[in-house]
Symmetry: C2
Subunit: 350 residues, 2 copies
Amino acid sequence: MTPEELDQLGIRMLLANTYHVYLRPGIDVVEKMGGLHRFMSWDKAILTDSGGYQIFSLARLRDISDKGAIFRSHIDGSQHLITPQSAIQFQESLGADIIMVLDECPSPTDTFEAIKKATERTHKWAEICQRSQTRNDQALFAIVQGGLYPELRRRSASLLASMGFAGYAIGGLSLGEPKVLTLAMVEETAALLPQDKPRYLMGVGSPEDVVEGVARGIDIFDSALPTQVARKGALFTRRGRYNIRNAAYKQVEAPVDSDCDCYTCRNFSAGYLNHLFKCREMLAYRLATIHNLSFMNSLMQRIRDAITSDTFNSFRDDFIAGYEPTDEKVRLAQKKKWLDAQNRKNINRG
Amino acid sequence: MTPEELDQLGIRMLLANTYHVYLRPGIDVVEKMGGLHRFMSWDKAILTDSGGYQIFSLARLRDISDKGAIFRSHIDGSQHLITPQSAIQFQESLGADIIMVLDECPSPTDTFEAIKKATERTHKWAEICQRSQTRNDQALFAIVQGGLYPELRRRSASLLASMGFAGYAIGGLSLGEPKVLTLAMVEETAALLPQDKPRYLMGVGSPEDVVEGVARGIDIFDSALPTQVARKGALFTRRGRYNIRNAAYKQVEAPVDSDCDCYTCRNFSAGYLNHLFKCREMLAYRLATIHNLSFMNSLMQRIRDAITSDTFNSFRDDFIAGYEPTDEKVRLAQKKKWLDAQNRKNINRG
């Protein structure tokens, strides 16, 4: 998607991964080219993550201590050290509007002891990150960890809240655990975070999860899901997710989603999209992406309107009643496949 | 590319391949969906070819007679018959603005006798196509064949010219022969085609060939080259074709082509494009495609302006002097590789 197109869709913030930019083209290159906004030709907001999540998933972790983490690139196997100090320094060079602390992101299946240790290290690193900040025009967000343990989550949230960050993220969720647990952890955590600061649920982005997240006090979400599934033909509607590659769409003259006024639905039949996907035309992936981003943006707008008019609870009930979510078994199997694929990359390249 | 985007680039006509549409999604499906214009949501001109070229290259030819050609689909190996009558019928159902006769497209390396026979059959089929036309709102173009034999080309051009078509195409060129021969054949042929009818050189589309083609009397070109090479990172400039994937571009802050005012060059550095290509981002292919289409469109505009102001000869001299074409040996090797790849598809699927 071009910046122009994202702007037309009403998108106001992009996320850039510090880990990916660090490896390619390099922080120094982007800095020399005038920072991320200029490099990407995007004059609206940018959020950079710290690299923590990728180091604990995509890269191959070699060693971790309170000082920092040594990891191998998933691209060429080269070895690198990241510290809380350098994570901030990198993000200052990139120049995003919102930057994130370096966190240790454990797997939800790790032991209580391992998750406790990772959470404590995350707190230490958060403090170092806060002290390392030299620019005053970037909002630094802390990240709550604690796995699936309510007591660790609560302690993490309270401690970080007391340290006075510009915003608070909830990390380490949506990593293969059942949705009911994800939402329970969000509920535990969000309640302890300051009312007057943005609360950001990392890596969550299905329509139903966004609605349920807002119901639990979340303001910001990030997720590759809407664009990722779009490229596989899965399109959001108010009734649920449908796959346009299904042969049933071949001769459908109506648009994919008759409630939608996005460029795709205004101009093309479901039959044409089905054809483009069968032919693996690049336009297929784009039109599907335009639709899903447009759907998410309009969902967020409807949520904001409902909050403003004090009708969010009935909006939520109506939405959830009308929306058939992806079957939980299928969803968990897909997530596992995706996490395994990440893992394989790691093993092959490490 | 979306219709909206093509429109912004100033593009006024698209080519659709009858062969491809016939196999997928099927002529009947497109007809039911309201014809090609509505199916693609494109309200400007469309040209459909007859399928002849693909049947003699991409598909596997099983049998040919004056009646028509039996071929196997390159997708699933299924067997089909196309006749001059059905080629017109299909194109009437699709509803393009310009339609083409069915021709037999021989290889330039075939014997004189084989090419002579193919050319004569092309003439017979042209006559049948002309008689088979039932719609009066589509311009039917004939196709001159004759391989690399000037006498066959001249006879084909004169004969078809006498039959009174709405326009005339030159087919069977740019199929791996040296450029000097392509241009010699164009020169022989174009001179014998009516002055007051459009002349269309099929499958030709590099910047230098377009300029040389116009110098020999050509009005219309079609080619996948500008978009195909764009997706591999090769970008046109007035000085020649450069590959943006080259590491030398990594830190270049200037746009790819400082003479260019396309969306890509107005907004992005060569360094950013280099980065997008390295990451295989879909945006890379799009930005490169936008640039090359914009370059070709502006080249055609400059050619039209030069003709109008009676300065085409000096424009041509300046352009050719400033433009370093792709090395002929490299070009022929690339072309051979491409034709072989087409052939392999054919063998694997046939």
